[in-house]
């Protein structure tokens, strides 16, 4: 697994203006102030400050969207600093300081389940570095050898000398260490590995957490925006005169696309209406005549893409190399790709799979994307929906042609992220509108604008052929997937790196083109592909006369991380294929983001074909876990995320536009549909690797349920949502 590079500079940089980004003369909303960047106290390094009462404020450069970064990052630093957890306070890292000091915090990106798994080395280093400088300061002041100074739970001591970290903070801040200390290995932890409640929870039970939608700036007005309803189409003209007398309406602003083919966060062609209230802006925008050039996308629909994919699957695709897809654990590098077509041709027992399919899915974060921008001549302030504050700050500067030193992008809580905060131009929209009207503005996307114009998780199609040997196990396997060309990796994840020992394997990929923006999502590839691969496995096991769980155990023999999960599934889930009529258990196991996640689903299917999910049991191996409570919360969350898509999701693309763009038609899982039992067990290897935890419980969920439905009803469901299937 790659580890991010970090430099000593990150731990040495000290600024007298830790809280100085929010300087004098700037009106900050009082609630946002309480959740502001920086803090009182003496800064030991950019990550932490200690005040006279020994309260430690820890800055988090990653965003908090419910996944726990605002707790995990302080935990990793507090572990090494060695301070009582009740003395730790969380503060937002300052994006301006990060960007203008050569990426002070290394990265502000938040995604791919990496905050802990890949960034713990330098975050723990920041805490260790501060602790060693405090020890050094005490040794110098007391005139004792360094090795006699003990730093523990916020107190420095050496013999009869004793003092709090706070008393030594100023001296520590001035120290340069000759050598950075090593970080603690697993086993020496006192805080990491324990259940810690997330620090942001109390703010989220009384409405006081500030999201981008909640920020208020004096003199602020509101904007509603409309891009062309066919993504990649362009707004040609609009008739402001037709709406200018509507209540509260102030102005219309054209948002000009800056690039012919916008990627990710480039500004897309759109028009905004600005008004005294957001609902007035939205109503006026809806009433304003807009002429658009729909472009080539208007010819594309779910049906046309499906037909194209099926024709591609009838041919051959590009053969994937071993290493393509997610970095895998235990992938058999010795597979013989070239022999596969011949072996399938001469097979005595051939299994030919049908076509499986997953449709487009939107992020549909509960908070629609929103941003507040206050563009002044000498200073720009922005609060926005983003999963990367540093990148978004740079983009605002780019949009306005400003120097980054005068651009301040402030963190707020994210009302969900799921990758949606990466593929976003709402901060550019707000900045451009504020610059055009000369006033602060709050942009809120309507739900229809959000879902219809979102960067979607792309559709995937897949099928397979396999030859079985005398023992019923596959001797050769060929898979062929079709993905969207803009994000081909999504169609590779969890395919070529599947863990199963099959002597001859060949994985082919073809691509379809759509005009729809595609972007990061919560486990976008593994969620779609796991559905296909893990039902394929059940079909192969059935054809070969194997119990599906025993098949998986047999074909991962000797692969400890997988065996640990699969054996737990067998021993702890009450696994049986012998249930009564209309009942079934199904299993699936998928690795994503370095974590192996197994799911055992228990379902019943009524005589009328109604599906009831009675129980979902998860077994996760992420190597290490720093906060088991949060790991379990994230497993539940990612499981239900994908359960929602499996049962109810699926975007409907017709004539180039998505037609189900609000929650009346793009359905979500709700409380009555939630399984009565969702259980998570951590079965960690604890042997030197770190998996991410924000996403991996999703991918095994739909195939485990589909497999269970098969055992309950005899019907195999090869596409989602299940509610549209006939059982």
């Amino acid at each position: 697994m790659n580890q991010m590079k970090f430099t000593r500079r990150n731990f040495l940089q000290v600024s007298a203006t830790a809280a100085g980004a929010m300087v004098i003369g700037f009106h900050m909303p009082s609630k946002a102030m309480a959740q502001a960047e920086g803090s009182a106290g003496t800064e030991i390094n950019a990550w932490l400050s200690i005040d006279a009462n020994n309260i430690v404020s820890i800055a988090t450069p990653q965003t908090e969207m419910g996944q726990g970064a605002f707790t995990s990052v302080p935990m990793m630093i507090a572990e090494e600093l060695d301070v009582p957890w009740e003395n730790v306070r969380h503060v937002f890292a300052d994006a301006n300081r990060h960007v203008n000091n050569e990426n002070l915090y290394t990265t502000t990106s938040t995604g791919g389940s990496t905050t802990v798994s890949r960034r713990h080395p330098y975050m723990m280093q920041a805490g260790a570095s501060a602790r060693e400088r405090l020890r050094q300061a005490a040794a110098t002041r007391w005139g004792v050898p360094l090795d006699q100074v003990v730093a523990k739970q916020g107190v420095l001591s050496a013999g009869s000398n004793q003092g709090t970290y706070g008393e030594f903070a100023a001296e520590a801040a001035a120290i340069t260490l000759e050598q950075e200390p090593a970080i603690k290995p697993y086993g020496d932890w006192w805080l990491l590995g324990t259940d810690v409640k997330r620090l942001d929870i109390p703010l989220k039970t009384n409405g006081s957490a500030v999201f981008a939608t909640d920020v208020e700036v004096e003199g602020m007005v509101y904007a509603a925006v409309a891009a062309c309803p066919v993504p990649e189409g362009k707004v040609v003209s609009f008739d402001f005169d037709a709406i200018k007398d509507m209540p509260g309406v102030i102005q219309a602003v054209e948002l000009k696309q800056t690039k012919d083919t916008p990627t990710f966060t480039d500004l897309r062609s759109a028009v905004a209406v600005v008004a005294e209230s957001w609902y007035q802006a939205k109503n006026a925008l809806a009433a304003m005549p807009i002429v658009s050039d729909f472009g080539r996308g208007a010819a594309i629909s779910n049906e046309s893409q499906n037909a194209e994919a099926l024709s591609l699957l009838a041919g051959t695709g590009v053969v994937l190399k071993d290493e393509e897809g997610n970095p895998g654990k235990g992938y058999d590098k010795g597979v013989n790709q070239d022999a596969v077509p011949g072996l399938l041709e001469s097979a005595t027992k051939l299994v030919v799979g049908e076509v499986y399919h997953r449709p487009f899915e939107a992020h549909a974060t509960m908070m629609p994307p929103a941003a507040v921008a206050d563009v002044k001549e000498d200073r720009v302030d922005v609060w926005t929906f983003t999963q990367d504050i540093g990148r978004s700050l740079n983009e605002v500067a780019d949009q306005l042609g400003r120097d980054t030193t005068n651009v301040f992008l402030h963190q707020t809580y994210l009302g969900g992220g799921f990758g949606g905060g990466y593929n976003m131009d709402v901060h550019r929209q707000a900045a451009a509108i504020s610059a055009a009207i000369g006033r602060p503005v709050k942009v809120i996307r309507s739900r229809e604008e959000d879902i219809g114009g979102d960067s979607q998780r792309p559709p995937v199609w897949g099928t397979y052929k396999a030859a079985l040997g005398d023992d019923g196990l596959p001797t050769a396997l060929m898979t062929h997937f079709v993905g969207e060309e803009k994000m081909p990796n999504f169609a590779r994840s969890s395919v070529a790196n599947m863990p199963y020992i099959i002597p001859n394997r060949r994985h082919e990929l073809s691509q379809v083109q759509s005009h729809v923006p595609i972007g990061y999502h919560r486990a976008p590839g593994a969620n779609s592909n796991g559905f296909i691969i893990e039902q394929m496995v059940d079909e192969l096991a059935q054809a070969g006369g194997w119990d599906p769980l025993d098949w998986r155990i047999k074909l991962t023999e000797g692969n400890e991380p997988w065996q640990r999960v699969l054996l737990a599934m067998k021993e702890k889930s009450g696994w049986t294929t012998d249930l009564g009529d209309g009942e079934g258990m199904g299993c699936a196991v998928v690795e994503s983001h370095g974590t192996i996640a197994g799911c055992v689903a228990t379902v019943s299917v009524s005589r009328r074909g109604q599906i009831f999910i009675d129980k979902l049991q998860y077994f996760l191996n992420s190597g290490y876990t720093i906060n088991p409570l949060n790991a379990i919360e994230q497993a539940e969350s990612s499981a239900i995320w994908e359960l929602s898509h499996a049962m109810f999701g699926g975007l409907d693309l017709r004539d180039g536009r998505f037609v189900n763009t609000n929650f009346d038609s793009y359905q979500m899982l709700r409380m009555p549909d939630t399984p009565p039992v969702v259980e998570v067990q951590l079965v960690n290897s604890e042997d030197g690797w770190w998996g991410g935890l924000g996403e991996p419980a999703g991918p095994p969920t739909p195939p485990a349920i589909a497999n269970a439905i098969f055992y309950a009803s005899g019907t195999r469901i090869r596409t989602t949502p299940f509610t549209k299937a006939t059982i």
Binding site: G66, M366, G415
Partner: protein
């Protein structure tokens, strides 16, 4: 025009179009930002408030319809974040992103005031109008039972 709303026990005078959706009057005019916008068509429940004891979606009813009635928002649930529902939410670490949770809590408060010891089925019915994209439903269900116990104790 001038409109007086009774919000969390206080009369609040605002200047608004009577047809303004109640949600935007609460957020933009009364300055209470805990109640959230999610869909605008009463499908997601992020905007749930309690009017005369009933959980109501505030995003698609006019502000005029709340005049003369007792309106409660998340800010009025307790002074110190210690209503049994809030304590149960904290205890069982319910919120993740947190955006839907004001609405979830208001639906739960209204349910427990009407039905102090709800069954799972009653919880399913009362909470069906509130979507949580983070999937905190199992914890919400458990926390409502916990809140019922806390309220009884």
């Amino acid at each position: 025009m001038a409109i007086t709303l009774n919000i969390n026990g206080n009369d609040v005078s605002i200047d608004a179009d009577p047809q303004m959706p109640l949600l935007w009057a609460i957020r933009e005019k009364a300055g209470l930002s805990g109640t959230k916008f999610g869909c605008g068509i009463a499908q997601c429940g992020a905007c749930t408030v309690i009017i005369d004891g009933s959980a109501v979606r505030s995003c698609n009813i006019p502000v005029a319809s709340a005049v003369g009635r007792q309106l409660r928002t998340i800010e009025g649930v307790s002074e110190n974040n210690d209503h049994p529902v809030q304590l149960a939410w904290q205890d069982l670490t319910v919120p993740q992103c947190g955006y839907c949770q004001s609405g979830q809590i208001m639906s739960a408060v209204a349910l427990l005031e009407r039905t102090p010891e709800p069954s799972d089925r009653e919880i399913d019915q009362a909470m069906a109008g509130n979507i949580c994209r983070c999937g905190t439903y199992p914890r919400i269900r458990a926390a409502i039972h916990r809140a019922a116990e806390l309220a009884k104790a």
